[in-house]
Symmetry: C2
Subunit: 585 residues, 2 copies
């Protein structure tokens, strides 16, 4: 007899079936024992009662949780009063003829009937092969597979070709540290794992591929980050030759629209095409270049109405006064307002002023500094309503924006405005091509391979900080999901873009020689994007821990606790590649 899955048993009522799986639970009621058998498709109740053979009764006494059984038995309808609607097999049970013990099990180090989030993660990861038996993780593994396959098929149908690019390559300019792979055949030299297939996909465009994609592993040796899997993560990577900007936007929009339901049919996309917002508008309205648009609470500029209109010096001495009007926020407790203030301060604000609308005037907080006339003017011009809470940051524009952006974000949580089932995508456009970096120096704002708006001419004639880039970020519910651009495919424009930062043509050739040379041989205009697959899956699956999107993740500290990697290697292996360990100082 051929084994069937547990999910298929209910189609075999009153028939004999062969099933196999793990003992999820044993409930011994004396004359009656229930075994819950689990396979990847579900749970099934096996009943051993007084009519069962002595052999079976004997076997069942030995069996413990997580033992592996093969059972031949008859599928029976349950009594109506014992039907369990929570199970796909809740209307049936199996009366076994034979139970064959395929494997025994020690007592597992943790229970498998919860979602696991209450357990010590290190222990879960050490026994990951047990941890993934729990239905939550089985579901993630299955959904991830279905989602990636749906993405592949969609891109294929749109004329994209998946191309596997090399894992052993040379350094790439993504800005993170490379993982090195010492060469044995060419001792003293090193491959690196790709930080992204950026150069290869651009070379594929030069190579005449019309539309490229890849579910691409990206290796970055960064210090642990909560929102990125240590070591390797995956991107949905595309590039299009001869593209229009619309085509680049539409591809992402239609791809998301046509695939998210594979994983999360209960969710919806409220706006299609995705709204576009400029980088400056995003900062000014939402205090972030990754705005969460599931809720309003836009930042309001109070400078004109409040600066130099009172004796409140903090307002008068600041470049701008910006704030957020929280409808019906007057009911916020003192500790809630303190939490908001802490958040504002964490982003550099001196403080977070507040007041409330009560009886058509302002009340509490900074109300006492503002004249009644000014209070009324504010209420009228801003259309404030009874019960509104006003929050203010008076500071430099950038500090006010950034800190209020963070306050807005916390308000979204406090007011439960973040509907998990709403997928609010938006494009952020118009990023500056250059910016002043943390060291006070002129630097690339984003990808150095993007085309500056205005091209070569803009580089020759404009103030570098005024030049915008053909660069666009895709944001989902406040998370940066993707980054893309129309690339700079003109070799001289590329050299010029680096020259403005003080880099010579020789440096460009040394660092990006293949691409620079390739562009001399007929490079098509091209552009594309890369969507972070892990974060997208987290959002679609409502998962909080990025590691659970991986079957076998590295720990938050970058260690494989199950396999014991990284580990010490034999001296001969180091000799093979001509390396030695430095003495630790």
């Amino acid at each position: 007899m051929a084994r069937i899955l547990i999910s298929e048993t209910s189609q075999h009522i009153n028939q004999k079936v062969l099933i196999a799986g793990w003992v999820h639970n044993v409930r011994d009621h004396g004359q009656l024992t229930f075994l819950d058998l689990r396979d990847s498709s579900g749970l099934l109740q096996i009943v051993i009662n007084d009519q069962s053979s002595a052999d079976l009764k004997e076997i069942v006494k030995k069996i413990g949780k997580e033992w592996v059984l093969e059972i031949e038995g008859t599928v029976l309808k349950r009594d109506p009063q014992t039907i369990n609607q929570d199970l796909i097999t809740g209307e049936i049970e199996v009366s076994p003829q034979t139970i064959n013990i395929l494997s025994e099990s020690l007592t597992p180090p943790f229970p498998l009937d919860s979602d696991g989030s209450e357990l010590d993660e290190a222990l879960r990861l050490k026994y990951r092969y047990l941890d993934i038996r729990r239905p939550r993780l089985q579901n993630i593994i299955e959904k991830k597979h279905k989602f990636i396959l749906a993405i592949r098929n969609w891109l294929d149908q749109q004329g994209f070709t998946e191309v596997i690019t090399p894992l052993l390559t040379s350094t790439s300019p993504e800005g993170a540290r490379d993982f090195l792979v010492p060469s044995r055949i060419h001792q003293g030299k090193f491959f690196v794992l790709p930080q992204a297939p950026q150069q290869f996909k651009q070379l594929l465009m030069v190579g005449g591929i019309n539309k490229y994609f890849q579910i691409a592993p990206c290796a970055r040796d960064e210090d642990p980050r909560a929102d990125r899997h240590a070591g390797i993560f995956y991107q949905i990577d595309i590039e299009i030759a001869f593209p229009t900007i619309e085509e680049i936007f539409t591809t992402a929009e239609q791809l998301m629209k046509d695939t998210y339901q594979t994983v999360a049919p209960q969710k919806h996309i409220p706006h299609l095409p995705f709204p576009r917002i400029s980088y400056q508008d995003a900062l000014n309205k939402y205090g972030s270049d990754k705005p969460d648009l599931r809720f309003a609470l836009e930042l309001v500029d109070f400078t004109q109405i409040l600066k130099n209109q009172s004796e409140f010096n903090i307002f008068n001495q600041s470049a701008v006064i910006k704030g957020i009007i929280v409808p019906q926020g007057a009911a916020f407790s003192k500790s809630q307002i303190e939490a908001l203030e802490e958040t504002a301060k964490s982003k550099g604000a001196q403080g977070l002023a507040y007041t409330r609308v009560k009886n058509k005037l302002l009340d509490s907080g900074i109300a006492r500094f503002l004249s009644e006339t000014l209070q009324k003017k504010l209420i009228q011009e801003m259309s404030l309503k009874e019960g509104d809470l006003l929050l203010f940051v008076a500071d430099q524009l950038s500090v006010a924006n950034k800190s209020l952006g963070q306050v807005r974000n916390l308000l979204g949580d406090m007011l439960k405005l973040k509907d998990k089932n709403e997928l609010y995508f938006c494009w952020v456009t118009g990023f500056p091509f250059y910016e002043i970096n943390d060291e006070g120096k002129l630097d690339f704002g984003h990808n150095p391979f993007s085309m500056p708006k205005g091209g070569r001419q803009a580089l020759d004639s404009q103030d570098p900080l005024s030049i915008e880039s053909y660069q666009y970020d895709l944001v989902l519910n406040g998370y940066e999901l993707a980054s893309g651009s129309i690339r700079n495919h003109e070799p001289e424009t590329l050299v010029k873009a680096f020259e403005i930062l003080g880099y010579s043509q020789d440096m460009v050739i040394k660092k990006f020689g293949a691409m620079y040379t390739a562009f001399q041989y007929g490079a098509p205009p091209h552009g594309g994007w890369a969507i972070g697959l892990d974060r997208l899956l987290m959002l679609l699956l409502d998962e909080d821990n990025i590691r659970d999107v991986y079957a076998f993740p590295l720990s938050s500290n970058g260690v494989d606790l199950m396999m014991g990697a990284p580990s010490v290697v034999d001296k001969t292996q180091l000799d093979d590649v001509g390396l030695s360990l430095k003495k630790s100082s």
Copy 2:
């Protein structure tokens, strides 16, 4: 106007279209100039004649090969006498209104209108972004994508789940050298790139996944081999829980049957299910454990009929006399027979004796050592025919088999018996679990994780060399394509299998700790296989060079000539990971 592909132009006769691509060729006939424009979909003829604008005539004079153009023009039917049936656009041409030069090109370092195989490979690889513009490589890239996608969809439909396993892991027991990846966060320790996902896929089975697959990168730091891509290659990797052996065979058979036509519709599979042949029969009949079954020419045992029946001492002193009967081979020239003898000697034979059937007797070669009676007996018992050629090796059985296997292989080439369009798959089964290795020691025959036939009991009671393994190879047209097995999922049987080779339980735990521990917690019986994707693609695409199956291959010497990898790295990068280069001695 939206750009269309060149392959779509013939649906737009007498309409205006926008196309873009590379100048494949310029043919200037004075008043008439033909431009061949190429994109990923094909070639198109652009005509500039005396009615074209002066601007266009001016532009066309400048244009060279591989320049990138955007052309707006009208699709016209060609005169019947100028139709080119070799082109998908051979019945049309485009009369341009505007030609926009998007990129210029230097003269390419090699022509792009051949299949490239006549060129120096190092030069092709240095300029791989140009090399892949040639239609042969565009076709490989596209077909590879379609084939892998077809495989993924087929496996999905059969209930398999693709799971991505880690790229940064610990050493695995595939027997090749590991690529090391030094850890920065944990200095002095190393990750390794996976040689195969063997342990992870087995741990997925323990983790309750029912059917796993992956298009899996495998990293092996081996010296260059002609039939394997340097560094990284890819496998179609599957594993099934609670499998029957039939299920494991059938999955490969049906997968091949249902997908090969995506790439090679002109080919066919002569036998389905694939024939199964035991390891011993394969050696005895075909002199190889990867027999090419597209032709017969089976090895014949002449020992009984010829040993001690003549004065020919070489026959009398050898353990066996085996040979091949080549129908109508009497016409072989001396140099052909010498080539066959060289081949036999290259595999250890002392020589290759021969004779021919002529006038119902034997003629030439060793005929003079055999009496007429013996000659007649041989002709009768072996049903020899006029014009047959007989080839003999008299030696130890293993030498006779191996050398005649190689002779048979060469005969297949000489007689043109290897039909490229015939996909003759077969399974080789019954491999020995243990064998004597090159150093004369008892060792695993293949995968140490296979289940020995007879299980623990066989290990306890049988002569190790008599134990067979649940191991099976899939062979296609003489190439080993896949290897698979039913695994040993019993921890004590695993320990015993290693113990017989003198390894302690501690060693097993140290080397395969995760798997050994995992097997204590309810491991299901499981098994699977991995098919070499690159070799399969080579055979389906009739390609001789495995590197051309990759868009960006490493050279035969393991170097990326385009990107310049591997390369020297900064001392700070080595400091980061706590390593230093050893002085070369």
